[in-house]
Amino acid sequence: MPVNADFQGRVYPPTETYRVSAAKIREFAEAVGSADPVHVDADAARARGYADVIAPPTFAVLIAQQCDGQLIRDPEAGIDFSRVVHGEQRFVHHRPLTAGDAVVGTLHVDTVREAGGHAMVTTRTELATEAGESVCTATSTIVLRGAE
């Protein structure tokens, strides 16, 4: 199997803090074509009850993929990045990521399994503020293509 099955159940230590900025939210919203003013106009966001501009629903991937990097770069995991394909992605938001949030991610390797010569790895990144408030759960399944 092109990945070390012993990694199932592994939990990595929390990452360095990621500071969510209004500028990055704007850039991301423009890139995915989300025109909602809550991404760029702090007054509009406050009028909707948010503390500041909020991120689009898939923004969390930016932080989660950096967390996933801990597994993908781990030499003991044996993952060949050139054979990685993104299979599934899911987000559960406990509240929107907001400009000014200081977020840490904790990476969990939930399952490692084999199917048809390929390996599938499902990771879960729990994003929380430095103060410990849960913000988002991002779950990702990557497929590691076996040798043809």
Partner: protein, 151 residues
């Protein structure tokens, strides 16, 4: 939509009472070209060469440059956030990436996105929308479900 563009509360959040299972959301077409992929690569920090470097993509066995799956996922959900009236109302969103969106240099690609209300819970005012996204006639997302909390 009736308020002035400068008014912060221009778009009201959609009311749950006006929504029924089976309702279709207004469909849309997302055009994606290489410039857009470079923009997304920078914004998302996903700089994998298969999303912008044609010789590299072909060398690793792809037909051409392909869009980031996360670009497709992120642009498709604007159908739901625009319909809900507030991007912060989408509390759950998941997809399977079933096929890549191939993005030729000269023409780019069009992703057709539509959505249907699959369930609506009056207790929580949570509405589940199933999204369909196709490119070149093929489904590019599978089991694409977004949950929005309405007013």
């Amino acid at each position: 939509m009736s308020a002035q563009p400068s008014t912060p509360t221009a778009t009201p959040v959609r009311s749950f009472s006006g929504v029924a299972v089976g309702d279709a959301l207004p469909s849309m077409t997302v055009h994606v070209d290489r410039a857009r992929l470079v923009q997304y690569a920078g914004a998302s920090l996903d700089r994998n060469r298969i999303h912008w470097d044609e010789p590299f993509a072909k060398a690793v066995g792809l037909p051409d440059v392909i869009a980031h799956g996360m670009f497709t996922m992120g642009s498709a959900v604007t159908l739901v956030t625009d319909w809900a009236g507030d991007a912060g109302r989408v509390v759950e969103y998941g997809v399977r990436f079933t096929r890549p969106v191939v993005v030729p240099y000269d023409t780019g690609a069009d992703i057709e996105v539509s959505g249907v209300v699959k369930s609506a819970d009056p207790e929580t005012r949570r509405v589940t929308v199933e999204l369909t996204a196709t490119a070149a006639g093929e489904k590019v997302l599978g089991r694409a479900l977004a949950v929005a909390v309405l007013d």
